[in-house]
Symmetry: D2
Amino acid sequence: MNFNYSEKTISLRKKLTAFFEENILPIEEEVSAFNYNPDNRWKRWPGMEDLKIKAKDAGLWNLFLPQNYGELSPGLTNLEYAPLAEIMGRVLWSSEVFNCNAPDTGNMEVLAKYGSPDQQKMWLTPLMNGDIRSAFLMTEPQVASSDATNIETSITRDGDDYIINGRKWWSSGGMDPHCKIAIVMGKTDPNAPRHQQQSMILVPMDTPGVKIIRPLSVFGFYDSPEGHAEIVLENVRVPKENLILGEGRGFEIAQGRLGPGRIHHCMRLIGMAQRSLELMSQRASERIAFGKTFKDFSSIRQEIAQSRCEIEQARLLTLSAADKMDKEGNKTSKDLIAMIKIVAPNMALNVIDRAMQIHGGKGVGPDTPLAHFFVAARMLRLADGPDEVHMYQLGKSVINTYAKNKI
Amino acid sequence: MNFNYSEKTISLRKKLTAFFEENILPIEEEVSAFNYNPDNRWKRWPGMEDLKIKAKDAGLWNLFLPQNYGELSPGLTNLEYAPLAEIMGRVLWSSEVFNCNAPDTGNMEVLAKYGSPDQQKMWLTPLMNGDIRSAFLMTEPQVASSDATNIETSITRDGDDYIINGRKWWSSGGMDPHCKIAIVMGKTDPNAPRHQQQSMILVPMDTPGVKIIRPLSVFGFYDSPEGHAEIVLENVRVPKENLILGEGRGFEIAQGRLGPGRIHHCMRLIGMAQRSLELMSQRASERIAFGKTFKDFSSIRQEIAQSRCEIEQARLLTLSAADKMDKEGNKTSKDLIAMIKIVAPNMALNVIDRAMQIHGGKGVGPDTPLAHFFVAARMLRLADGPDEVHMYQLGKSVINTYAKNKI
Amino acid sequence: MNFNYSEKTISLRKKLTAFFEENILPIEEEVSAFNYNPDNRWKRWPGMEDLKIKAKDAGLWNLFLPQNYGELSPGLTNLEYAPLAEIMGRVLWSSEVFNCNAPDTGNMEVLAKYGSPDQQKMWLTPLMNGDIRSAFLMTEPQVASSDATNIETSITRDGDDYIINGRKWWSSGGMDPHCKIAIVMGKTDPNAPRHQQQSMILVPMDTPGVKIIRPLSVFGFYDSPEGHAEIVLENVRVPKENLILGEGRGFEIAQGRLGPGRIHHCMRLIGMAQRSLELMSQRASERIAFGKTFKDFSSIRQEIAQSRCEIEQARLLTLSAADKMDKEGNKTSKDLIAMIKIVAPNMALNVIDRAMQIHGGKGVGPDTPLAHFFVAARMLRLADGPDEVHMYQLGKSVINTYAKNKI
Amino acid sequence: MNFNYSEKTISLRKKLTAFFEENILPIEEEVSAFNYNPDNRWKRWPGMEDLKIKAKDAGLWNLFLPQNYGELSPGLTNLEYAPLAEIMGRVLWSSEVFNCNAPDTGNMEVLAKYGSPDQQKMWLTPLMNGDIRSAFLMTEPQVASSDATNIETSITRDGDDYIINGRKWWSSGGMDPHCKIAIVMGKTDPNAPRHQQQSMILVPMDTPGVKIIRPLSVFGFYDSPEGHAEIVLENVRVPKENLILGEGRGFEIAQGRLGPGRIHHCMRLIGMAQRSLELMSQRASERIAFGKTFKDFSSIRQEIAQSRCEIEQARLLTLSAADKMDKEGNKTSKDLIAMIKIVAPNMALNVIDRAMQIHGGKGVGPDTPLAHFFVAARMLRLADGPDEVHMYQLGKSVINTYAKNKI
């Protein structure tokens, strides 16, 4: 475990921080206000494409992708990327500026790792260029989708095509007008062994039968322009070449997709928590009640101290998971990945909640990023499987480890 | 402490439950969908007035008001009203149907207790009839308003008028097209002793100088049609008769207003939590993952058992506060009122959060009332003063009690 | 739910409080010091018998027993007894003074409810007189005894006798020189239906084959003179008349025994917590650090405020369970009894722990009752079944209730 | 932050683990039983000196001391020592075997850093040889000693001597028959500036006027043979050369002493927690209730998963503090040191408590190390200042940091 920043990271952090100060923070409120305005729902903030070009020009592009894809990505390790993702977490809409936003990142990884050359050319290239966006259609309303064997969408071979039927929801990004392609998880063979029933297939969003039913709100937020879509797939027909990796490989791809995505989410959560800590520290230094500045109340100091402790621990844990993934691969690191998935969202919720409370009414309203941070973090206790599923598996693994080595 | 239901309560509970089953639950989703639709923002659901007539006809009207106002209210005690408020808490928008919605209830109490006959005729009567709605302008963005001595809005005598200047926010109900009157808290004399600087004054919403700046979102919710308004008062001139009770009496009125309002909020929170418990129990009995129905996971049973324990304790505490208020008055009951104000929102947040988690993505989305419950409960950790203020005062009171009686 | 004190309770509370002030508190430290001194281990404090006579003379005797046994008990309801048990909880060794100490109370109830006239004459009378003490041999080291069907001790009929073999531990009171009789739970028929395998039988402590292996410490405490014994039963032979109620009735007796015992434990826990709150309030009013008296630190006020809230809620819940037991019986009240069993020990641990912390080193040492309170409360998260077992059953019951009544 | 083990650490860990397996674990219960037996109170387990020789021969001696003292210590960095201290934490009495036990470690550091050559020859050498033990007399019963400026013991110059008067308690190690020397904190000049009033002075335990009043129990444990002593210093006269560093330097020495000591304590706490996790995993894999092995209850898996997460985070945080101390010194690292002081004991208490609960009655009794671990960890929430003091200072520091750098 060597968490010292590499030269590359040091240089990119400096650049990224400067970019934030120059190009992101000054317009933070303007972009948020645009996105929150119901009149703009599912419209993209007009300045986004220019900002993306600036970021690309600054070499702050596709930072997430561990492989080097020529000039399109710097090929950072997870450990190198982690502190950069933390910075992006400080402003919710900023990841897209650097082409580092979910679910595109995960989808790009899937295509980079498992896609055929044709699939890569067709979809990976424009995604890496930031020309289009994508969705990942996994969760279904009718079943507990965190147990992926429950998933019911059918992918049925018909001549040279597959026909897809099912209902998906919480398809993040699905409302974005730039969203052109979806990766869909479904069953090609319900009679195969439990972990070989599922496959993943590429479905262009404009394929007939793809019906966006409605956007889902999270608490009251719609997260425009990406949104979270409920989508019905009704006799959706795509060529057989759209299948990724092969029939029955869906579970395997899902596993491969999740590790890095979790690191990214967790680092962004740490960024949210860190910024919340800073905001509450500033509030504490200014606000007065009952004749004392907030910072002189011991209870407020305790909350800030606790938050500092929790953030730093989660940060170290995430770095250690990133490091292990880099060195030993995702599979060996699965316990550590489960650990950060359990720890980071709950840590962030605790910290953000304290920050909201110290801000009073302002904290739950639109004038700070806190309420939206909270909702984003709350959702991440569910996305990619609720805490409980990860604890269920981690607990089993820990018990097995120590039950064998009696002391 | 005798918490047995009175005959009156038993009969009203039966009626209210029947009313819910017949008139509220069947249209719950329709009304919510109307209110959430941005196209309807600040419009009232068209069926509301008819529903109110039905409720009035059923004798389910103004249940909250402890005094008897002829046929307009049944004159329940706090203890009698509490279980009815709990039922109303089960559906967020339902209180208005029975003319029992905040902040109107508190405003009516202020007018009933402290209003002059003219003030009562002008504003209390139409409020009790449900013909208009009202706002309470207390909190200010610039100061920690939970320490009411901080409030800066000025109320200056000028001949036979008062002139009001200041900025208020979180004025709940202020966006409602039916909102016709506001009670404004401000300083008539900044040089008076600390608790005699403040006064309350009636300001019709259409008075020149009353400017609604914007609606505030809570997390992402706008709570249409009531909303939470930011309002600037700029040289707002009202006749001197609009002052309530007298100059320097604002603090005294605020104190008198808060007790019952807290009981109402707390009972509604218990209703939200109770419904969340029921929803999660039903979910647990149906959903399957990893080969087991949720109800057979010990961790899920624990969450449901914990929730049941927490709800019942908060319910008993609230009943005991209501009972004490009825028998000994608000002032003697201040510690107990502080206790439920601390306990109920946090209890509700815990229970609702568990219910959301058990519902997975559905729990944070628009298809259950859970996310909105959560936000409502979260706000009530701040409304009428954050937890911390109540703990600060309660802690002091407890220490003083026991420091004197050494053991 | 009418929690008002009855005349009887008011009068007894007054008497009991006076007795504490006169006879218990002045010697509290002396008795504790005697009991903690290893030289006195398993010796009874010499003044105890005199104190018991005083209490008996004052009519403060066998207050716990819901039936009236002539002059030996006042026949209080659970609701009437609860506030008296709370007072006794304030001094750990005081219950015995009033013949209200576990496990004798539970054993007396078993004999009173289920004992034959001969069994009652032989054992109930001297127990009610306070002439002897008793033990309850239930828990076994080899199995999870909270699932009573696991219990392995055998009770085998042999002519006119039963022969008992097994190993029991955590037999509280088993080290006391006055302990003369044990009620033993064991299997008379391992092949009977699951809940009819167990029986209870009376075993005089001086029966050959009853071997006290060792006293168990709880954390570092030995709880002399009662202690917690590990006991081996080796071919212990008693006459068949010692069986209580009949073969296979053990489970039924256990159920009947537990309800009131839990109320008693919980009320004592509330007494411990209440006293801890008072001690920490006094400490907070006196101690100074960093230029401030503890009571002026908002964090300390918060802890005291929280404690007050938690105690009062647990108190109300326990009273409501007592009330329901009185009116509807133990069986109908089982959910409420489970709830207080879950709530009270954890509440007490939280409160006591905060009190210890505010006391600094003094709080974990021998100069306050806090550390011993903590250990007693910690043990009560396990005694009569760990929290988890009660949550497991309560959770199931709640789910079943609400799953049926869909909303 | 490079937490990879150095060659030295890897080799020492291997040796230390082997030593544990060969020499510590096989006699763990024997030594504990000896120490718990009241007949042996304040006697040292007879095999200890032989074990110490073995450890010294194995090169496992004075591992804690960051400086190299010739053959007496290997001169490890804090980061190198941390994983070794973790192993020692697994058996409470084992640190002494390696001459790594508090408070001797801290005292040796003080003498090594600040002692005069004569003081070092007289006391450091025998301490490093393990020939004697020592005490540290800081805490006083009458004042909140965590605010060191409160300390009242007087150290008054009288000719060539100092005369010391005061009352100290919680002097760990003070009961040990090998304890020969104490470092005493007291005031040489009550009128000096606040942080220059205090000095530290060496007081041989056999100096006239040093009166051991009593041993203090922690919960019920006496921690024989070291114990925690209450000591009165009555006109204790020592030569002026016994003063360490100079008058008014006490605070400075205290600061220098605390950093490494906290790392040691925290690493041992992590060892306790880790072992508790292993014990509970084993228990979970074996015990059966309600027809299921504990490991198949989701709630038990959750507790184990949570524990794993908490331990790993605290471990990383402690390593990062050790690393920073090595590289940047104690002063710059004070926030991180405060953080581990806050985090580690609470983490350990949570984990140990869960482990106790899973063990049922066995968990709070004498048959596992858990109850003693719990008490040791509980005490460490108070030793060297309660959590609250560290949060008070850390909170202030964090607020100051971020209040300046506005975002």
